[in-house]
């Protein structure tokens, strides 16, 4: 493993931890879902580094795409989106 | 170092600079629409320059086609997403008129 790859991986893992803390700390649910989206995208890249592209594809499609859509829809259902017409 | 590599390096470094500018813009600007303008700069010009550098470096025709597809995909999808965000902002922001007059 080259040094450059290690440096990039360390940066990615630090970012992952930061976004994981961010999801639980932020009070705004809308913001939390968006940070979770970022978490999933970073996780997909880390899966690629760990040589499992299957998981990377699934993580990118499910974690960043479908999951956040479902989260937004749930927030809309329970009227938890502030600042929109759902109020 | 051949001319091709130098050209590619210049393109990639320029692209990364554009990305830096766009990130700086996202942090500095206050209003959603201004921020979106800054973010879109990185999505279009920055990505194009980086991928252009990779295209110059590329050896396999199939890989180069994939890079070109990435650019096309981003150029179709990113403006639409930006357009939708701007529309939501326009529909839900109550102080929009004041903001525009105040500028």
């Amino acid at each position: 493993m080259s040094t450059m790859s290690t440096v990039i991986q360390v940066i990615l893992v630090l970012f992952l931890i930061a976004s994981a803390i961010g999801v639980s700390v932020t009070g705004n649910l809308f913001m939390a879902v968006i940070i979770f989206m970022g978490y999933s995208s970073i996780m997909a890249i880390i899966w690629l580094f760990l040589e499992s592209p299957d998981l990377a594809i699934t993580e990118a499609a499910v974690g960043a795409g479908v999951d956040s859509v479902l989260f937004f829809l749930t927030l809309k259902k329970v009227h938890a989106l502030k600042g929109t017409r759902e109020g | 170092m051949s001319i091709r590599e130098i050209l590619a390096a210049v393109c990639i470094i320029l692209g990364i600079l554009v990305f830096c500018c766009s990130i700086l813009g996202v942090y500095r600007l206050k209003y959603v629409l201004n921020r979106m303008h800054a973010a879109a700069l990185g999505d279009t010009l920055g990505l194009f320059l980086v991928v252009l550098g990779l295209l110059i470096l590329g050896k396999d025709m199939f890989h180069m086609l994939k890079y070109a597809l990435i650019v096309i995909f981003f150029w179709v999808s990113s403006p639409i997403a930006t357009h939708m965000i701007a529309k939501v902002e326009l529909l839900t922001d109550k102080d929009y008129e004041e903001r525009m007059r105040g500028k």
């Binding site: 299957d54 594809i57 699934t58 499910v62 479908v66 479902l70 | 403006p79 639409i80």
Partner: protein, 303 residues
């Protein structure tokens, strides 16, 4: 039935089967019960003092999380080093997969060979769980004669206005360009599941994302021209049955040494590796239908 009435055994049994007995007893219990006296320290934790104890609860939640994090971290330190050659997970099973995987399954992608050949029963269970999940969501959220509210009707009507032609022109044109590409890529991932990274779950979720994109841009009505609840159930159930049939066939013939095995073909060709390709297609279709089904049920309450 009054509480004090004398009842025969059969009447009692009938009431017990219908659940009336429990209800009557519950009413009686609620009307006569007294609040149990709590010990002194427990008063602070009772449900009546939630508001005044907010800080305490926060501290306790942090404490519990920290304890769990500590336990997990201690467990991680006892695990063998990641990726080391002498790990217990590198036993003869993995060796056999790697050495004879191509011969026995015919799939170049070992992961596909593992999950759809050696451990195909697992994957069958997972597909069933997905189907079950979407059926539960249908039970809870589907809009029928019992599940309607005026507010939701109004919201749906507002959404229909936003689906009109001239209001979302750019989005519609864009989705017409992108959604076919996304779905095509998903189909590619599903069909090449035994040759390259990917497979049923990944490709299916990509197809589902493409369907969601199309539905979000063009509205539910346009989607229903080719994807209704009937198609959804037909595709899901047909895929599950096909999966079950294929795997039962290979279990039966393999266990009894009947010898009517599916030819493995040349490893690397698209039509190879026995049942993996049809099984991948089945899993992909189920996952795609489930993803879109979740989206449709969460937005409008109907597929």
């Amino acid at each position: 039935m009054a509480l004090s009435e004398k009842k025969s055994f059969w009447q009692k049994l009938k009431a017990w089967i219908d659940g009336e007995e429990i209800l009557i007893n519950a009413d009686k219990y609620i009307s006569t019960r007294e609040k149990p006296e709590l010990p002194h320290f427990a008063k602070h934790f009772s449900t009546e003092n939630v508001r005044s104890n907010k800080k305490l609860y926060r501290l306790m939640s942090v404490f519990v999380s920290l304890v769990f994090i500590g336990i997990m971290l201690i467990t991680v330190t006892h695990l063998p080093t990641f990726g080391e050659a002498s790990n217990p997970s590198n036993n003869e099973v993995a060796e056999r997969y790697l050495e004879q995987g191509i011969e026995e399954t015919g799939a170049i992608n070992f992961v596909a060979g593992m999950i759809l050949d050696y451990r195909a029963f697992d994957t069958f269970g997972e597909s069933n769980v997905l189907f079950l999940a979407v059926i539960c969501v249908v039970m809870l959220l589907k809009r029928d004669s019992k599940n309607i509210s005026a507010a939701e009707d109004q919201e749906n009507a507002e959404d229909d206005v936003f689906d009109m032609e001239d209001l979302k022109l750019i989005l519609k044109k864009g989705s017409k360009t992108i959604a076919p590409l996304v779905i095509l890529y998903g189909i590619y991932v599903v069909l090449n599941g035994h040759l390259s990274p990917g497979g049923g779950f990944s490709g299916g979720s990509i197809i589902g994302a493409g369907l969601i994109l199309y539905s979000a841009a063009n509205g539910q009505k346009k989607m229903q021209t080719f994807f209704t609840f009937r198609t959804f159930t037909l595709i899901s159930v047909a895929c599950l049955l096909t999966y079950c049939g294929c795997k039962s066939y290979s279990f039966f013939t393999g266990a009894n040494h009947v010898g009517y095995e599916i030819p493995k073909g040349v490893p690397g060709a698209i039509l190879s590796s026995g049942f993996i390709l049809p099984l991948n297609i089945c899993v992909g279709l189920i996952v795609a239908c489930t993803m879109y089904g979740f989206y449709a049920l969460f937005t409008k309450g109907e597929i």
